[in-house]
Point group: C2
Amino acid sequence: MTGIHDLAREVGVSTATVSRALRGLPRVSESTRERVLEAAVRLGYVPSPHAVGLASGGQTRSVAIVVPFVTRWYFAAVVHGAEQVLREQGYDLLLYNLAGDSAARHRVLRTQVLTKRVDAVLVVGLGPTAEEIAAMQRQGSPVVTLGARVEEWSSVRIDDVEASRTAMRHLLDLGHRRIAFVGGLGEDGLDFTTPTARLEGYRSSLHDVGLPLDPALELDGRFTLDGGVDCGRAVAAMDQRPTAVFCASDEMAIGLMSALRESGLRVPEDVSVVGVDDHEMARFFDLTTVRQPVHEQGRIAAQQILRSLGGADGPAEVAPEHVELATELVVRATTAAV
Amino acid sequence: MTGIHDLAREVGVSTATVSRALRGLPRVSESTRERVLEAAVRLGYVPSPHAVGLASGGQTRSVAIVVPFVTRWYFAAVVHGAEQVLREQGYDLLLYNLAGDSAARHRVLRTQVLTKRVDAVLVVGLGPTAEEIAAMQRQGSPVVTLGARVEEWSSVRIDDVEASRTAMRHLLDLGHRRIAFVGGLGEDGLDFTTPTARLEGYRSSLHDVGLPLDPALELDGRFTLDGGVDCGRAVAAMDQRPTAVFCASDEMAIGLMSALRESGLRVPEDVSVVGVDDHEMARFFDLTTVRQPVHEQGRIAAQQILRSLGGADGPAEVAPEHVELATELVVRATTAAV
DNA sequence: TTGAAAGCGCTAACAC
DNA sequence: GTGTTAGCGCTTTCAA
């Protein structure tokens, strides 16, 4: 591996000059810079990130993105959006996929594994606990959350309560009065805020129109396809079957509909179904849903990170910024009047 | 930030002893080790990866995973599998998502961005060109490919030609003789080997039973949902419509079926459809497909990486190992006899 | 405009 | 068992 020393010797200048030339700093004559650049290419010189980081105050030029799952479309799309923006600015993305494992969550959010490894952290789809917040603050690097609001950090998200209420309003407008909810709580030992908020939107919608809450109508679909299937079977088997089901995610809605149809029920004739996300597959199921900008949230979160990382002169203490993106009802063919 | 020096002073020993104690090396008395460990926790000491890397020969304890897309289920599942295995061994995952961008591909595979940043590289779903292979070899770190076979490196994959032939055999057995192919080539400027191999399987299957190749029946679905939709429309509009379509991926099959149905065609009565992958959504479309182990391929590729990284004593020159996993026909309801 | 030299925070020989 | 002493490959004063 050719190092800066080899380069310096080759060009006949000092390592300091090489360093300046390579980084485009002033006080290097054009001719020297050119010779250095040329030799660098010729010798295939690549600076060691370790040495650079060590010598210049521990920067890593990389940010960690922590996701509860990476195989779910929503999270993958968020990662994609964030990666694009960060890559443009020369940052690398370190992926921490908790994969529904609470031990992994603890390791990443409570211990110091991230310390000194990254310049910033993007936490997606998790509502950090007070201890986790404290632990991450102790690490010193800026944090941005996506999908949850933490006062001390910048965040991007949608209003989950309102998204739920949009879906519910649609069902109520269609005349449905017995509406089931399929959501998820404390999923795999991870603590999310989204499931809670969506349940809350469901409940408050019913409350607003004077309908009673029926615990039997609140189902746990674990935010997965299979969970949706289970709930679909449960709904089909109910004595007093609901005329509509509000699923807190499209994936659960898809699983649910499949089970419903398997049980001989028609959607939307027998049961109306509405989801949340506008998953890439939603249109193929003709699923009525509440669309949220996913890729976009990833991009914005990444921009917030860049903002907190500041320009060339290190982390700027910026005030936390909370962005809330709009959602939109997309009516397709899985909902109909009672 | 407390450094090894602070720790040493605190405990009253030298930094060398602290280093040994922390890393569990021999020649440290139990009592000393305990005191060091205790103080480390108390002071919240975390070694600087930069310094460690620099001092101990440039290791990074991280590996790069290069994927052409991260939002497609297949790649996300591969990433998940690989991450699990690498994380267990204490490696971090640097994600390089090309996102269908050939400039990005060039940057990652041809330039030296990866040099000194990672200990190894996992290239997924791309058939590196000769120049790319040469460029990566110049970087020195071990490389493993997933989904393509490169002689100089270890690899995991399925036999794509055979997977195609399995699907085709199924259609031929059902009596289909006019069979269209939906695949993709040179997708977004990226060069894949999978599309080519799957096309080859289609062609050779027809050839084997003495059927002619009809260029009009070979469609480009770009390996996307939308591409599948386009092909579905094209198929529906054909004068001599095929009785069956073999799609080189489930996602294209799903898009295709949707367009077919929109055009008033029934699946499988009017057209049989078979895909490849066994995408998590395939069962909800009752899609007949050729299943490949996805998560598993990610895990195995990661193990190959660990193998090439060797134990504690650095990269071992291991002979490339080429693993080929079996596929399996999953018959559901989108295929029927003519 | 350039160079010498002192670190950055750790590991690794080697000596004790 | 433990400490001393060099670096690892850069950046960054400070002089020149």
